[in-house]
């Protein structure tokens, strides 16, 4: 089997695997919608008090809320992707089997995670956006070009998210139990992705910092593209920002992986 076909098959498997859990998907959609409603009302109060806050009008702010709920699973800000399984395999020692398979470990998990993200983008993304659009006054673009540009930004965000979570999973080689690192990663991700509050609302230096960190590639970057805040050269700069973090973090992941496999004793008897 060709390498490309192998990873395509793994990705398709990832997609099918997540699409099996229909009740869980429906339950997740319900939760996204409830949180979206709570957030939307707080944002309305906030933008009533300060119209134009962070350069968004109220409709844009509400779009941001529902986009956040829609992308929450695809960019796996709260975790729940491949990393749980990989950490478990490191803990039990099964990772040794993965390491002598004739496939690249990082590319294998990336393919699986891409399949998951593709399903969750459709399964968990469309309904919150549609609900938000029906119940609240939101500002969605009408031209196909913006939507296309947005999808590119989403996939770059998924790539950065994967690269971060791969590092999180590798930390289990040293800590054995990944729960602590995973939790810290979720927190940092929630805060610095802009899931709690748009990063352009963050004041002063904190805002500058938040917008420069890799997590801003997950939600803030795609949101700004969808809201029409990034066009032409600005759009290219956003893509370059996301791609630079993706390439950099993926490279660090490979370095850490080789350090882990050379220096760490695999668990198991």
């Amino acid at each position: 089997m060709g390498t490309g076909r192998l990873y395509a098959a793994v990705a398709a498997g990832g997609f099918r695997r997540y699409s099996t859990y229909r009740v869980a998907t429906a339950a997740g959609l319900f939760t996204n919608t409830v949180f979206g409603v709570v957030l939307a009302y707080t944002y309305i109060a906030l933008w009533d008090e300060r119209p134009g806050l962070g350069g968004y009008d109220q409709a844009q702010a509400l779009t941001y809320v529902w986009l956040g709920q829609g992308l929450l699973s695809a960019v796996a800000v709260m975790g729940g992707g491949f990393e749980d399984e990989m950490i478990e395999r490191i803990r039990t020692g099964d990772i040794a089997i993965d390491l002598y398979r004739p496939a690249d470990l990082q590319a294998w998990w990336l393919a699986a995670d891409a399949g998951r993200a593709a399903f969750q983008l459709l399964g968990r993304g469309v309904v919150p956006m549609a609900f938000g659009g029906l119940v609240f006054h939101i500002a969605l673009p009408t031209d196909a070009g913006t939507w296309l540009a947005f999808l590119v930004a989403v996939w770059l965000g998924v790539l950065v998210s994967f690269a971060i979570r791969y590092l999180v999973a590798l930390s289990a080689f040293w800590f054995m139990d990944g729960a602590g690192v995973q939790q810290l990663a979720v927190l940092t991700g929630l805060f610095f992705s802009g899931m709690v509050l748009p990063l352009n609302v963050f004041p002063g230096a904190l805002g500058e910092l938040a917008r420069a960190l890799p997590w801003s590639a997950l939600l803030q970057a795609p949101a700004d593209v969808l809201l029409g805040e990034r066009t032409g050269f600005g759009l290219l700069r956003t893509y370059a920002f996301q791609a630079a973090w993706a390439v950099g973090l993926l490279a660090v992941g490979r370095l850490v992986q080789s350090a882990a496999t050379r220096r760490v004793v695999v668990q198991g008897g």
Partner: protein
């Protein structure tokens, strides 16, 4: 399945003599929780990180509120101190329930893979076993954080205290925890029917506590009506807290509703107890 029921009854007879179901339950809870605490302590570095993570994770919500107030002076007509008051009470009540019952959302997984059978044959109440499963001491982080924010609110707010208001504070936190406990148990009962739907429970528990962190004036009237008359979350902190703060109630409710939380908590727990029994009776195992 009559089989399982019979076996369950059989083992019930072996339960420690003299103790009531409640005492048995508490004893089983203590034993299982103690075991999980010892197990967590095997990975100390990870435990320390998860305690910090729980504290910081729940504090993140308050950081968001602080960031909002760095840009505005009022939210829905409430000052930062007043929002912090609501926030602290919501977190303290929810934190208490989360510590004791926080693992109930794992029930669905147990129903799906059939491991609930193991709990049914043990001579201890199933509810106590499910509640104590994976008991996580790290959840003290949320309570600590909520109490700190509440402390901050009490310092900055100028409340005209009366004995009744002072008494209402602890009553409010305990009743609030009771109301949330009912939601957790009812959610667990629902998982007997829809095993993969633990997320639905999260939207009422975590979603509920998030909602209560903000002033009722922020939300649409229908939503406030829903969490007052249908799922009575408004009794956790909104109504009693507004009495303490001398602020107007939502929906023109009469003043005495601030003293209803204990009654609401008892009624909710009774209802969810019925739901739990119905759920447990409908359990049919995996058949394999």
């Amino acid at each position: 399945m009559a089989d399982l029921d019979e076996r369950r009854d059989e083992y019930r007879d072996f339960a420690p003599a003299g103790g009531s179901r409640l005492v048995d339950g508490l004893r089983a809870y203590r034993l299982i929780a103690g075991m999980w605490i010892r197990s967590t302590m095997a990975y100390r570095a990870s435990f320390a990180m998860t305690v910090f993570g729980n504290f910081a994770g729940t504090a993140l919500d308050f950081v968001a509120i602080l960031l909002m107030f760095s840009r505005v002076d009022e939210l829905g007509g409430y000052s930062l101190g007043e929002v912090a008051f609501l926030y602290g009470l919501s977190c303290a009540a929810f934190g208490l329930t989360d510590l004791v019952l926080g693992s109930m959302d794992r029930l669905g997984a147990r129903v799906r893979d059939g491991t609930l059978d193991t709990l049914l044959v043990r001579p201890a109440p199933v509810l106590a076993q499910v509640a104590a499963d994976r008991f996580a001491l790290r959840r003290l982080g949320r309570i600590t954080q909520g109490l700190l924010v509440l402390g901050y609110a009490l310092v900055v707010l100028d409340i005209s205290w009366t004995p009744l208001k002072v008494l209402l504070m602890p009553v409010m936190v305990v009743s609030g925890a009771g109301i949330f406990a009912a939601v957790f148990v009812a959610g667990a009962a629902f998982q007997f029917v829809a095993q993969d739907a633990s997320q639905v429970q999260n939207s009422f528990t975590y979603g509920g506590t998030t909602l209560l962190q903000y002033p009722p004036t922020v939300f649409a009237k229908d939503l406030v009506r829903g969490v007052t008359f249908v799922l009575p979350l408004a009794f956790v902190n909104w109504l009693p807290a507004l009495y303490v703060l001398d602020l107007p109630y939502p929906l023109d409710l009469p003043e005495w509703v601030a003293f209803l939380p204990p009654l609401v908590a008892v009624a909710c727990c009774a209802l969810s107890g019925v739901a739990w029994r119905a759920g447990l009776r409908s359990y049919r195992s995996t058949g394999s």
